[in-house]
Structures are given as structure tokens and as C-alpha cells.
């Protein structure tokens, strides 16, 4: 079956530092990868949508300068949170799918705590 692994599962970083999170697709080719942040209030915010061989599309309020994303092949993507502050805390979810009309499979997320 299609699985998505994210690591680390949780991480703590000091305010102003950066941390990188990774997303691995297993059992299918991740043509598209969507990175979301789920706030403590449970709402999902789309950060960016990455499609192989296309430019990464960032949503309003999210920038490449703050959340650089790499999607080098059909099984892997990574995102870095640069200069993390309290408002960046939350559960970062990676969702991947093989085709535009297929369902997203989500990983378990990387929980970011900022102290």
C-alpha cells in the first residue's frame, strides 16, 4: 500500500534556530507533495504544493525564504523551518499523491516545539 513516513516525529528547537523535516513516500511515486501545518487548534494551513518538474507554489503567508522545500525525486521531500519562533509551532504534515486525481496520503507529521 501507499505509505508516507515523516521524520523526526517531534523536535524541539530554540527560538531563532532552524530545523529540517523529511518526508518519504513508499509504495508509490509522489508526483505531488503538499506541506501543511496543523495548529494547536487543529486547523490545517497549506504551506506549499510541490509538483515534480514544476515550480513550488507557496500559499499566502508562507514564503520560500522561511520554509524552503526540496522535492528532488518521486519518493522524497524535505522542508526547513528557518528562524523558528513560537508562532511556528504545530504539527507539520506531508501529504503525497501520485496523480492529480488521486488521494493524498499523509504521514504522521513532525511536531515542532519552539522554546
Amino acid at each position: 500500500g501507499a505509505l508516507v513516513y515523516q521524520y523526526p516525529r517531534r523536535t524541539i528547537c530554540k527560538s531563532g534556530t532552524s530545523m529540517r523535516m523529511e518526508c518519504q513516500a513508499v509504495g508509490f511515486q509522489a508526483t505531488s507533495v503538499a506541506w501543511y501545518r496543523q495548529s494547536p487548534q487543529k486547523t490545517f494551513e497549506l504551506i506549499a504544493l510541490s509538483t515534480v518538474n514544476s515550480a513550488i507554489k507557496y500559499e499566502q503567508n508562507f514564503t520560500q525564504e522561511k520554509f524552503p522545500i526540496s522535492h528532488p525525486n518521486l519518493s522524497f521531500s524535505s522542508m526547513t523551518v528557518l528562524n523558528a519562533y513560537l508562532e511556528d509551532r504545530g504539527l507539520y504534515l506531508c501529504g503525497a499523491r501520485a496523480q492529480a486525481n488521486s488521494d493524498y496520503t499523509f504521514g504522521s507529521g513532525t511536531r515542532l516545539l519552539v522554546i
Partner: protein, 111 residues
């Protein structure tokens, strides 16, 4: 502007009852509506989905009812079990573009 809204925010039912979770949307271009189930500490997992050309989709105890004219849909969970206790998210998608999630309904099923 929240494009997908869910109600209630939380719902408690007794084991064996039918839980009804509501969802409404604003974007007429949405043509696909997946529902995700999320347990604490986990990512969302696809539960059931419906295309806008259908008005009903059934999968075991889970049924989606869809009203395109009113831009509303609902998820019915029949014979609710304690193991169904989770947060349920309705989402809208159009032509393969981004998935827009609602705020979720936290369901508790009491034995």
C-alpha cells in the same frame, strides 16, 4: 475566509447511535470531497470520499450525503463504536489543485 466549514466542533454520541457530522463549502469549483479521520498523535487518514456528480457514497458504516445545490455534505457514522472516537475533517478539492480542509469535528463515542 474559511472555504470549508464543519459543524459541530465536537459531538458526543452513545455506542450504537448514528453520528452525523456536517460540512459546507463556498467554492463552487470543488468537485471532490474526501473525509479524513485523525487520531491523537497521528496524521489524517482518508476515510471515505465523494465526487460532486454523486449525491451519496456508502462504505460500510460510513455514508456521505451530498447536496450540490446547497453546497452541503454530511458524514453519517452508523452504529458508532468507541474506536470511532477521533477528529474528522471534511476537505474540498478542485481539478487536482490544493486540498482545503475544514476545521474538524471531534467525535466521542461513549460505551
Amino acid at each position: 475566509q474559511q472555504q470549508v466549514r464543519q459543524s459541530p466542533q465536537s459531538l458526543t454520541v452513545w455506542e450504537g447511535e448514528t453520528a452525523i457530522l456536517n460540512c459546507s463549502y463556498e467554492n463552487s469549483a470543488f468537485d471532490y470531497f474526501p473525509w479524513y479521520q485523525q487520531f491523537p498523535g497521528e496524521g489524517p487518514a482518508l476515510l471515505i470520499s465523494i465526487l460532486s456528480v454523486s449525491d451519496k457514497k456508502e462504505d460500510g458504516r460510513f455514508t456521505i450525503f451530498f447536496n450540490k445545490r446547497e453546497k452541503k455534505l454530511s458524514l453519517h457514522i452508523a452504529d458508532s463504536q468507541p474506536g470511532d472516537s477521533a477528529t474528522y475533517f471534511c476537505a474540498g478539492n478542485n481539478a487536482g489543485a490544493k486540498l482545503t480542509f475544514g476545521g474538524g469535528t471531534r467525535l466521542t463515542v461513549r460505551p
